[in-house]
Chain length 498, copies 2
């Protein structure tokens, strides 16, 4: 078999695996939205079986042989195919780097840790979680070291690679150092400004769920979401799931307010537009997948934070809200703008506004690096967390429940994930500045509810590129500069301090 | 490996296959209920891939070896395990009997035929369907002959075996001959009786869908359906899908009336109770599956036709209907009873009442046997159909749309399926007579909305047996007599002519 034939055989193999993974995505979505509680054990078995089958397709000895044959003649393929082959090798390397007994040990320890955490968090019981965290960090350290050796990476980079292909700590460190140097002061300035401005008043409900849903669907459609290839549903925790031609996003409604559910829909719509905008011809191939978590988050945040919390979008949506829910002073443009741009020093990352959110992330980034390197003992985590919160965010958690026990990520072994949230926020700001450069009348269009140029720009500059380039390359090509915190700073000044 | 070890390895292998099949069931359910239209092609690929994987698990050479080893020592296992091994061999034989190029040819021809039928039926175009039907019957004939040779069965029996393990035409022929000898006259007598009675009046809507659903769920719960392991949803064609611990049934609501949706729910609840009542310890094993289609249909019909269209149940539900939708004369017990027991000579099988339905089936049974044997040419089907309808049901179709083009079964190659509908109806009547024997105060309980004894009887006598016995054995054990049309005749007399 020559290199071109081997490459085609690999495409077919990865396509088969992707079909199994697509089936898994639908099962996971069903789990989170509709599945009756009593089906959980059976579903776990089904998911485990399909996961094993997908893994077997990748780890079949034939895959390794085909990779070798395809790589033997670098001239046989080029462009996206060559990149695809690189990514196939990367997936194979990631899957084979860690011995299977270590993989199993991590899964077992992660599952036990997560299970304990569900109680420990509620009961503010760090002592019971500590041995689990020690075990998990011990195993992650071992895996990061083995994986790093296989990929030629330092351990923390070997963790970052899991969530964002090609991302290195040398990309993050200077950006986060810059951000950390000026953001706390900026937050103080914003808070001072908001303290002297009018306090936003809460709109009075009840807000009918069906009307909220209808409104959300209308906004999704206007933004370019294709309901022929996707759905909007409800789940406890909003997420975007499904598959490329069947993108399923969820939100959670309450009748007391509509802002959270609406902003949740808009956030997930950003993720969903990315998935729907991937090139159909490359479906099922590694190069046809969406980029890393940072780029994905940039797509949700450019819609939610950059576009939809901005004055032009609020100007567009406020009359729709008054029409849907009946007029009240709290639904005027100025009040809604205040509501969706309110900044507060808080304890909880997932409730944080865009200005303070990166400070929550910088804390986690520093701590997880220290925990992974062994420079910080798990036993010392609560103290380090609380000191860091006081220092960076300006509030000291009264307990671990709302402190170092608040997030699931570490409990599960997901070390290296947190930075992608803030890289996404910085990317969103930088991409939005480029949209404004290329679409000078963006605000007028937005206020008129015309999002074609906005979404079209993202489709061309981001979505259509899929994984043919790294997140760094996509952002640099689209904006003309490497990813930095500059545009985010300019954005905060313009929105909060002008 | 000794026989007991080989058997245990087979159990594990079939369990893995069942997990893949369970995933497929959820994907099929999702297809029919929620999937956006634009995802159809991708879903077809996912389903094809998982179907292939499930088939590969069965057809792996190791399965054949293990079957041989397990069968080598008949004393190593007994009871349900021995029956399970038999059924494993049966599945393996069915899957290997037909050469794969013939399987593929049938799938292709069936898909093309079904696709053409969707238009041909609408346009009353038998001419365009004829070559497809000829091709499909030709291939089914070939497959039935090959499968029959492998199983030691005549071709029609080899078709029946696909839908009802162990069912032979020698079981059907005398029963259908008996039924055909007296049912046309009985229908005439019923129609004469109903013509001289009061005509039922249609309740006046609109009937709110949400209230219909709530009512349906309440009835399901009362009948013993476990919502911790199942759901009620909507689809174009009502069906029961999902998996044993997540049984998902559907109905279709209209605001003009509630009877059809409610009876649809009750029918599917019969299927669903069967699935929920299968023994959990045997989940994923062939012996743990539900019995053939005839026994499954007996479970839907004993609930819908025997129990819920009877006067005691109508007495129970009529006040609930008046409460839910507001009182009106058409919602009184007598009128609803007349509505749900109205008999009419009609053209369409799926719209037929319980008295005329078997006549539709006897026609199809006769015709499909003749078509399969080559005694009837496809070209002569419309004429034979119309003559048979005039003779058996007493109406002559004005066109093929409402004649021989009305059903999907043959278009798809499902020859041998039709008899199971009527065997199910006869089984339901015979089982209901046995319930009445064992639960003398059944009517009083039913009128009071207490279905525990009814469902409990079915759980013990039918559901819990799964595939440990044939349909014939289950019915004979539960009722004390082999399956016949006697109880059905008694039932018609009691309900319509007493």
């Amino acid at each position: 078999m020559n290199a071109a034939e081997a490459y085609r055989a690999l495409e077919e193999r990865f396509r088969r695996r992707a079909r199994v993974q697509d089936a898994l995505s639908i099962l996971h979505w069903d789990n989170a939205t509709l599945m009756p509680a009593g089906a959980a054990d059976g579903r776990t078995d089904q998911i485990a079986e399909l996961t094993k089958i997908a893994r077997e397709i990748l780890l079949d000895p034939a895959t390794e042989d085909l990779l070798g044959e395809a790589e033997a003649d670098a001239g046989a393929i080029d462009g996206w195919q060559a990149r695809n082959l690189e990514l196939m090798r990367r997936e194979h390397r990631l899957a084979t780097a860690i011995p299977s007994d270590l993989v199993e040990a991590m899964q077992r320890a992660g599952a036990a840790s997560e299970m304990n955490w569900r109680t420990a968090r509620r009961e503010n019981d760090f002592a019971s979680q500590r041995p689990h965290l020690e075990k998990v960090f011990g195993l992650v350290r071992e895996a990061a070291s083995v994986r790093g050796a296989a990929l030629g990476l330092d351990p923390y980079d070997a963790q970052l690679e899991l969530f964002e292909p090609g991302l290195r700590d040398t990309d993050i460190a200077p950006v986060f150092a810059d951000l950390g140097s000026w953001l706390p002061e900026k937050v103080a300035a914003i808070l001072e400004r908001q303290a002297s401005a009018e306090t936003p008043s809460a709109p009075e409900g009840p807000f009918d769920r069906a009307i909220q849903k209808q409104l959300g669907e209308g906004l999704m459609r206007a933004l370019g979401f294709d309901f022929e290839q996707g759905r909007l549903d409800e789940s406890m925790h909003p997420f975007t799931g499904g598959v490329q031609d069947d993108v399923r996003l969820t939100t959670r409604y309450t009748e007391h307010g509509f802002v959270e559910a609406m902003m949740g829909i808009l956030h997930e719509t950003g993720h969903a537009l990315y998935e729907q905008g991937l090139p159909k011809a490359w479906r099922g191939q590694p190069v046809g997948n969406s980029g890393g978590m940072a780029l994905h988050e940039s797509q949700s945040l450019i819609v939610e934070m950059q576009l939809c919390r901005g004055p032009a979008f609020v100007g567009h949506v406020a009359p729709m809200l008054a029409e849907a829910f009946g007029g009240q002073p709290a639904l005027d443009v100025a009040n809604i703008s205040r509501l969706v741009t309110r900044v507060r020093r808080g304890l909880i990352r997932v409730d944080a506004d865009e200005a303070t959110y990166p400070l929550h992330i910088i804390l986690r980034y520093r701590l997880e690096k220290a925990l992974l390197a062994g420079d910080l003992a798990v036993a010392d985590l609560p103290g380090a967390w609380n000191d860091g919160m006081a220092d960076l965010v300006g509030v000291r958690p009264p307990d671990d429940r709302d402190g170092c026990l608040q997030d699931i990520h570490w409990m599960d072994g997901a070390v290296g994930y947190f930075p992608t949230y803030t890289l996404g926020a910085l990317g969103a700001a930088q991409l939005m500045a480029a949209v404004r450069r290329d679409v000078p009348d963006l605000d007028a269009r937005t206020e008129a509810g015309d999002f074609a140029a906005f979404t079209g720009w993202l489709r061309e500059k981001v979505h259509a590129r899929a994984l043919s380039a790294t997140t760094g390359e996509v952002i640099a090509d689209a904006t003309g500069a490497p990813l930095s915190a500059d545009a985010f700073r300019t954005h905060l000044d313009a929105r909060y301090l002008n």
